[in-house]
């Protein structure tokens, strides 16, 4: 088990280095990095300063070293737009993002499990067809459009909820709902199909032969096996989650990471974009690591064989 985690950790680090290299190379391939790293109002003095700091006269390898050591120390440079250290800006934005993401994740997870299992066990019934339909609908309707329509309905027409911005609990309803809407359909389908596969298996037949009640067969024997397959596609779910988070923050004017990043993109504030990219990469890889550990916990074969 420990060995398994260490191997995964190593792979995570390698992946991170890969992403850092990628950013570094892309910046240099696209032309003079100074163009990206300076704002329109930078004085010649500042530019010269920046050049020295980046060591643009030095070899590529040395430049990368300076770039990488900076990253490790949490030095992402200064925002070109706000003239603040990027690290500080992230410190403000990150908790706001988590305030949306975590509840949305939990809600969609619980709903996905419950609905997915129910649909699979009542195959080809009204409920199952309903879940299938909602899943396809959810995966087809653009989330950003859905959010705007919700806004139109609940905030503009009915005036039940505030339009946007951060504030009291009522401010959370629509953003969290939107984000959950991004994740739910995919997860629900995965749980359902995983369950269907497992319910066909011989060990479920054996559990029935034992005379176990359906409740135990489903929630004990089937579910644990059914979530093993969806866990392997967790990476894709995560990618969707980030897309959802950014869009939600933009639409509801939520001061989180997504908005920070997108605004930086519009302003071509490269240090901020770069820092956000790396941070998101770290979080995604960290989540994947967590998924792998869960995987090992759920599937004893992995737990034993890799230790």
């Amino acid at each position: 088990m420990t060995r398994f985690i260490i191997i995964r950790l190593l792979q995570t680090v390698i992946a991170l280095i890969g992403i850092a290299v990628l950013i570094f190379v892309m910046v240099r391939l696209s032309g003079d990095p100074i163009d990206l790293l300076r704002s329109a109002t930078s004085t010649p003095e500042e530019i010269e300063n920046l050049q020295r700091q980046l060591g643009l006269d030095k070899s590529n390898l040395e430049q990368f070293w300076i770039f990488a050591t900076g990253l490790v120390q949490g030095d992402f440079g200064e925002s070109l737009l706000k003239r603040r250290p990027v690290a500080d800006m992230i410190k403000d934005a990150l908790p706001n993002s988590l305030r949306l993401t975590v509840p949305a994740f939990v809600i969609s997870m619980v709903l996905a499990l419950a609905l997915g299992v129910l649909a699979a066990t009542r195959r080809d019934t009204f409920l199952d067809n309903g879940v299938k339909f909602v899943a396809i609908l959810g995966q087809s309707i653009p989330g950003f459009w859905m959010a705007i329509m919700a806004m139109l309905l609940f905030a503009v027409i009915l005036e039940w909820l505030p339009t946007a911005g951060m504030g009291g609990p009522d401010h959370y309803v629509m953003p969290v709902g939107t984000m959950a809407f991004f994740m739910l359909p995919g997860m629900m389908r995965l749980v359902r199909s995983g369950m269907l596969d497992v319910l066909d298996s011989e060990y479920i037949k054996l559990a029935r032969i034992k005379g176990l009640p359906e409740r135990i067969i489903i929630w004990k024997h089937a579910l644990r096996n059914a979530i093993i397959a969806p866990l392997t596609t967790a990476g894709m779910i995560m990618a969707g989650l980030i897309m959802g988070a950014v869009i939600t923050e933009i639409i509801f004017n939520w001061p989180g990471m997504g908005r920070l990043m997108l605004e930086a993109v519009y302003a071509r504030d490269f240090p901020v974009v770069q820092a956000c990219t790396l941070l998101i990469a770290v979080m995604v890889l960290g989540m994947n690591l967590l998924v792998d550990i869960t995987y090992a916990y759920v599937d004893p074969q992995i737990r034993y064989e890799k230790s």
């Binding site: 309707i141 995983g194 990476g235 997108l262 071509r268 990219t277 890889l285």
Partner: protein, 300 residues
């Protein structure tokens, strides 16, 4: 002599499905309806210049935010109304089909070919090549395309190429993973070792034996990707890092109307419905195709 008998081992093991006639009709509807919608979309994209009543990027400041024809104040000149710059929503939507479809098809063509070649190679050759390729695939799959698109948009500047690149750079990975799994299964199958016994070369095995047997899953995934790619392009354009204005993209049309949602709902609503309808068609058709061709792939 022996006659062709139905293959008893397979056919007497009944498929577990108690589909009624009504469900059966519903099932075939999930093929016909989406296929019709998708065909219409393709035709619209091809014949956009003849179909669109107006120039999609022509601004007319005197005719801003005109409601659609069925509302009070609407006219047959602008059937779906005009946007905040007085551009015809219908014409923009028709031209938008071109962008959505071409981005989506281009990306699918690139990613599917790259993914299939890498997947078959990895699955057949195995060893270190495979191990390396698969770790690379895993990392690519977990990296959010949106973030990459943002990065590219800053570095290269927004544009058609940037969008295609952003979606392609990571998009091959799911194909590679799926095809590798299939290729691996087929490589270890008896008929491939039989081909090796017959003296077939690795190239012949990959082309004649492995490729024809991965076509089914490949087609299924490609069909399902149509919707996903249209959605992805729309998302990027909505965020302003996709197709830059004034070219009409459904995603940017939704974004354009966002600020006017309380006074001109049609600017946002129509392109949104269009995206939903097309993507749903792709998904339903993909679903139907999978049930028909390879129900094993339910996980997709």
């Amino acid at each position: 002599m022996l006659s062709i008998m139905p293959n008893i081992e397979d056919k007497t093991r009944p498929k577990i499905s108690g589909l009624s006639r009504r469900a059966h009709i519903m099932r075939s509807l999930t093929c016909i309806v989406p296929l019709t919608i998708l065909s219409l979309l393709v035709l619209t994209a091809i014949f956009a210049p003849w179909l669109a009543p107006h120039d999609p990027i022509k601004v007319s400041m005197t005719e801003r935010r005109l409601p659609p024809v069925f509302m009070e104040g609407g006219s047959t000149k602008y059937i779906l109304g005009t946007d905040h710059l007085g551009r015809d929503v219908l014409s923009r939507a028709i031209y938008g089909a071109r962008i959505s479809l071409s981005v989506s098809l281009l990306v699918i063509a690139i990613t599917a070919s790259v993914g299939t070649i890498l997947g078959i190679a990895a699955g057949y050759i195995g060893g270190r090549t495979e191990a390396f390729l698969m770790r690379f695939t895993d990392i690519s799959m977990s990296f959010p395309p949106l973030v990459l698109a943002m990065l590219l948009s800053v570095i290269l500047g927004p544009g058609y190429i940037t969008v295609v690149l952003a979606l392609s750079v990571l998009g091959w990975a799911p194909y590679a993973r799926l095809i590798r799994g299939e290729a691996l299964r087929i490589r270890n199958s008896d008929f491939v070792s039989q081909a090796r016994v017959s003296g077939a070369s690795p190239m012949r095995i990959m082309i004649k034996h492995i490729f024809p047997n991965v076509i089914n899953p490949l087609i299924i995934v490609m069909t399902m990707a149509v919707g996903f790619m249209i959605l992805a392009e729309a998302g990027l354009s909505f965020l302003g890092i996709g197709i830059p204005p004034p070219d009409p993209s459904w995603g940017s049309m939704v974004a354009d109307g966002r600020g006017d949602i309380d006074r001109a709902w049609w600017i946002t609503t129509f392109p949104g419905i269009l995206i939903g309808m097309v993507v749903m068609s792709g998904n339903f058709f993909g679903d139907w195709l999978r049930d028909k061709m390879d129900p094993r792939l339910r996980q997709l």
